[in-house]
């Protein structure tokens, strides 16, 4: 019997129709969840950060979010909305939301007050301060939040396959049909996908980092940095408040 680890590669080639179809669904569910979370979380986080209010809410929501086990959320929403994609989408969106909101809040909130004062001093409107000063300086951290969220959602979307939502988890959930080689093959794709999403967002983060903030560190250095969840920084958790490092 050939090794399932090698068999997995032939599965990926032989059943590329199934794999590609499930991969597409996987990306679709993930993108929808992150998309909805972005539409709600980003403006809210940016606004709260701009007015420097409700820090308790904006910060603790990410602590709360981390305490919500993904499988538990899927299980709890299931009886309410029924099994299938809606259940999966709701659970994933709830999980995608906290890092986006918290990072957006912190990113804007922590922009150097002197810079903001200077911008006001030369006569910029609050809206101009936000768009021309605060946002550009905050973008790297904002994108770090989106990255945390996206990597997490792409990994967690696997559970959709068990809850009738399709995606790569569907292959893993059907070992009877796809054999062990299929399960391992889907796992390979999943791992590669997680790393690609990570890489993609690291790249985007570099692109959006204003030249003045850019510190040259290799791609590896970037990758090996822990996920930039501000509330997960030691100081933050220690004080129960939030600080971030660039």
């Amino acid at each position: 019997m050939s090794s399932p680890f090698l068999g997995a590669f032939s599965f990926l080639v032989d059943r590329s129709d199934v794999v590609l179809h499930d991969l597409a669904t996987h990306l679709e569910i993930s993108a929808e969840a992150v998309g909805i979370a972005l539409v709600i979380g980003l403006p809210l986080g940016v606004f709260l950060g701009h007015i420097h209010r409700f820090s308790f809410l904006a910060i603790n929501i990410s602590n709360l979010g981390r305490a919500l086990p993904s499988l538990a959320l899927l299980a709890i929403f299931l009886p309410i909305v029924g099994i299938g994609q809606t259940d999966v989408l709701i659970a994933l969106t709830v999980l995608a939301f906290p890092p986006i909101l918290t990072n957006a809040y912190v990113a804007i909130d922590q922009v150097d007050p002197e810079v903001v004062d200077a911008a006001k001093g030369i006569g910029l409107h609050p809206m101009q301060v936000l768009l021309n000063v605060e946002l550009p300086l905050a973008l790297p951290l904002v994108f770090a939040g989106i990255r945390t969220s996206a990597v997490f959602v792409v990994a967690t979307a696997t559970l959709a396959g068990f809850f009738g939502g399709g995606g790569l988890g569907d292959i893993i959930n059907n070992q009877e049909s796809y054999r062990l080689s299929g399960v391992i093959g889907a796992s390979y794709v999943l791992i590669v996908l997680a790393f690609l999403v990570q890489l993609l967002f690291v790249g985007v983060e570099r692109l959006v980092t204003p030249a003045g903030l850019r510190v040259s560190r290799g791609l590896l250095g970037r990758l090996s940095r822990p996920t930039n969840d501000p509330s997960a920084t030691p100081e933050a958790a220690e004080e129960g408040a939030l600080q971030t490092t660039h």
């Binding site: 602590n63 959320l73 696997t158 220690e238």
Partner: protein, 246 residues
């Protein structure tokens, strides 16, 4: 043996799940009677809860032991930081379902497999926080300690480690909550923990109460663990509380 009962009409025998209430028959959203009947028998939520705690505690204890040694090492020899952080991030990015499925093919269906995966997810968080705790100790404090004639080892044990405790606890807090979430997914490969009733219920028709009970217990466990560590942090660092009160 499952007790059977014959219904009054002499129709088909149905399994007697205790006193089958109308809630259970109609698959109500949450049947409290069914939950109490299954708390310490049949589904046995109590036992699943205990298993869940065991899986989590073992993973965090082993993960902390490894991370602690590595962090102390890295504190002395900075070159250790980059490779450990890099490997830790790689492991952390691997989606848990993929990790479980691939590992189970190598190490078999047992707790060791589950723990290998769970431990690998604690390393990045615990290493980063322990190291940050040690590195954040003020150089003045270390100088003062050295001035009083303490050796490097004495400085580590008597000065740096005690001062690093809050940051280390903060890391443990994040790790424990993360592992509680991932341990539900472990039920994919071993029939243990609060994920088991969820996957069972998916395989055996959608019985709402089972989903909600498992999901809510899991979230409560995570929130309780989170609160526990916040409490421990307060007790161990009275100065932080005093500072806040001022």
């Amino acid at each position: 043996m499952v007790p059977f009962s014959v219904n009054a009409g002499g129709g088909p025998t149905i399994p007697n799940f205790g006193e089958t209430s109308s809630c259970v028959q109609n698959n109500g959203t949450f049947c409290w009677d069914w939950f109490t009947q299954n708390w310490s028998s049949r589904v046995d939520f109590q036992a699943r809860l205990v298993e869940h705690v065991e899986l989590t505690v073992i993973a965090v204890v082993i993960g902390f032991a490894i991370s602690f040694v590595l962090a102390v090492l890295a504190h002395r020899a900075r070159w250790v930081v980059a490779p450990v952080t890099f490997v830790g991030s790689l492991l952390y990015t691997i989606p848990s379902v993929a990790a479980f499925e691939i590992l189970v093919t190598i190490t078999g269906i047992n707790d060791v497999t589950v723990e290998i995966a769970l431990v690998s997810y604690t390393l990045l968080i615990l290493f980063t926080n322990t190291l940050a705790g040690l590195s954040n100790v003020s150089p003045d404090v270390v100088d003062a300690a050295r001035g009083t004639g303490l050796t490097d080892t004495q400085i580590l044990v008597r000065v740096e480690l005690p001062l690093a405790v809050p940051t280390i606890i903060a890391g443990l807090r994040v790790a424990v909550v993360t592992i509680i979430s991932l341990a539900t997914v472990a039920a994919l490969i071993v029939p243990e923990g609060l994920g088991k009733p969820i996957f069972d219920a998916l395989g055996a028709g959608v019985f709402n109460t089972k989903f909600i009970a498992s999901g809510v217990l899991c979230i409560l466990l995570a929130l309780l663990a989170d609160a526990l560590f916040v409490g421990v942090q307060r007790v161990l660092t009275p100065w932080a509380t005093a500072r806040r009160a001022r």
